[in-house]
């Protein structure tokens, strides 16, 4: 599939932005700056980038507890994300959601979701809205290999199939549900094989190769926009860090395995390929990296300097007429 120079630059910028965001966030979390847990997605950058390269702000994505990469690929502001994770009032959700609930409706980001599998029907619903309104938009649901054991994936794929909805199911198979390996917990070697049971195409994609993801996603999204129904993509990928910031993955996986995956890292692979094909040069790549390094540093400074939410925020954005809501004081 043809990629414009602008799109190539966007792809590299986006993948590097996700990488840097996650690395810096992990450092900040260890320093105690995050007010909660951080589930990082470095290693998995090619997936959300290759998918979202085909989407506009009017398309909707649903995400997971490991959702920073999805947010960034959908165009969500990294300073607003960092501030949210730091629990600040300037965060995208005013500090009321945190890492697992970042949303940005203006960007078509329907929310990260802390319950495994619970976000999948929401993306199906976004696709149902699109069909009812006839506006040509699509819904994309990101979820992990662990979520494929939940009932919602079955219900969602069946609904999307029988109603022929413009939805793309994107399974980011990073091979571990917390500490549980996929070969133990999932009944098939390729989860994409299950798509046949729902009469939809199921495609296994190298999730470390952004070009492969870009091509597969382009086809699936074009199919959805043409009214031909849903597609299931399984991206084989790997998270470089533990399940969350304090998890040591070496308690359940071997360093040799990590090295094999890191040898296929999506960023150097991209760099090698664009330089070989004379599409971008090292000077430009370095300039992008420097810009993003600065952006993420600024995001941390913004988050640090931002105010905490006022206590009255506890009671906003939900109806609270119950008179005993403040520990019996009212």
């Amino acid at each position: 599939m043809e990629i414009t120079p602008e799109k190539l630059r966007w792809i590299y910028t986006t993948m590097y932005r996700i990488r840097r965001f996650e690395e810096v966030l992990l450092e900040q979390t260890v320093l105690g700056k995050s007010m909660g847990v951080a589930h990082t997605s470095d290693g998995e950058e090619a997936g959300p980038t290759g998918i979202c390269a085909h989407l506009t702000d009017a398309d909707w994505i649903g995400s997971t507890h490991r959702g920073h990469g999805h947010c960034i690929a959908k165009g969500v502001d990294t300073a607003g994300m960092m501030a949210e994770i730091f629990g600040k009032y300037t965060g995208l959700c005013k500090g009321k959601g945190g890492s697992m609930h970042i949303a940005d409706f203006a960007k078509g980001m329907l929310g990260a979701n802390g319950i495994v599998g619970a976000g999948i029907p929401l993306a199906v619903g976004a696709a149902l809205s699109a069909k009812l309104k006839g506006n040509g938009t699509v819904g994309v649901s990101f979820f992990g290999d662990g979520a494929t054991g939940e009932g919602t994936i079955h219900e969602s794929m069946n609904l999307a199939s029988v109603w022929k909805l413009p939805v793309i199911f994107v399974c980011e198979n990073n091979h571990y549900a917390e500490s549980t390996p996929v070969e133990y917990a999932v009944s098939v070697p390729d989860i994409a094989d299950r798509a046949a049971g729902y009469s939809m195409p199921g495609v296994v994609v190298d999730g470390m190769d952004v070009f492969a993801v870009y091509d597969a996603a382009g086809e699936a999204i074009a199919r959805a926009r043409a009214g031909e129904g849903p597609t299931f993509l399984e991206l084989k990928t790997y998270r470089y860090h533990g399940h969350y910031h304090a998890d040591d993955p070496h308690t359940y996986r071997l360093p040799e395995e990590e090295e094999l995956w890191k040898a296929r890292d999506p960023l150097p692979n991209f760099e090698r390929r664009v330089i070989e094909q004379d599409l971008m040069d090292e000077v430009e790549l370095e300039r992008i990296r420097n810009e993003i390094d600065q952006e993420i540093q600024d995001a941390v400074a913004f988050a640090e300097e931002s105010p905490l939410p006022p206590i009255d925020e506890l009671y906003t954005d939900v109806y609270t007429n119950y008179s005993n809501s403040v520990r019996g004081l009212r």
């Binding site: 009321k96 029907p121 976004a126 819904g139 609904l159 906003t316 954005d317």
Partner: protein, 354 residues
Amino acid sequence: MATDTKSSPLGPGFDVPGSEIRYREAFNKTLFDELRRDPDVFIMGEDVAGGAGREHLGIIDSWGGAFAATKGLIQEFGAERIRDTPISEAGFVGAAIGAALTGSRPVVDLMYFDFITVAWDQLLSNAAKNRYMFGGQGKVPLTLFARSGVAAGYSAQHSQNFYSIVAHIPGLKCVVPSDAYTCRGLLAAAIRDDDPVIVCNHKKLINMSSFVPDESYTIELGKGRYVRRGSDVTLVGMSYTTEVCRVAAELLAEQGIDAEIVDMLSLSPIDEDIVLESVTKTNRIVIVDEDTPRCNMATDIAALVADKAFDSLDAPIKRVTGPHTPVPYSKPLEDAFVPSPEDVVATTVALMGR
């Protein structure tokens, strides 16, 4: 004190054109109104039309929903907006929430209230929390309706009143109409509200009739009403138990006890003021709830009265509820489960010290 069961501080009153119609007809009429009024409104659920995909055989609207709640809609609004679903409650309730977040106004028929547990995570983790945890971004204008309550041998898994579980969750609203008039006004208000609202239709009310104005109207969510004014004791009803209270009040009147009836109508938000106003006047209260007794709405309202109106009480707060058992099947057992007017009378008479 004068009794006027037809006066209502809510809605358009009864001096308008209208007629006696059944609860189910009022419900169906409201769906027509709202689907015509707003193109973003659509209905989905199991068998809301029935026979989906068999239009080529001339089959259309074969069911029209359980108790014919959605009968006739597909003929005017078509299969896109009157959408039959597979048996897939978590899937389609979740899809409805996603549709609501993206500009639609879904109305979901869950068939029986008991089935809410199958879709509970979607309601609890998504519908109730999205707006709050996203810092005010997005809204969930979802209406979910279901048949509730003990009736006709539906037994343990099709008879429950789970409204206290719903009321426990910040972000979910819950209404309990008590007749055809309140059904129409509350359902219209629920569909026009920007928060998720669960509408409980008690099976015993569905075929009962009352006066309903011809013109569409809404009843404000979170407001109760007086269905009888009295001075000796406050009876609190919700859903079908408002009807139980009406009968009990007539029996009490024969014994010279003048009961006031508060009909809750909404359980979340809840109208604390009307309960406190009434009990402050009558100084005695009996709360009638068909639900099982632990952590139910009667207990919640009793706590409110103990906290806010303790000084005006002349007698202990009493709750008349179902027993702490599953709902049984056999008729004599089922009858024994349900709070009856006689139970309310006996409790009230004892409370009056007679």
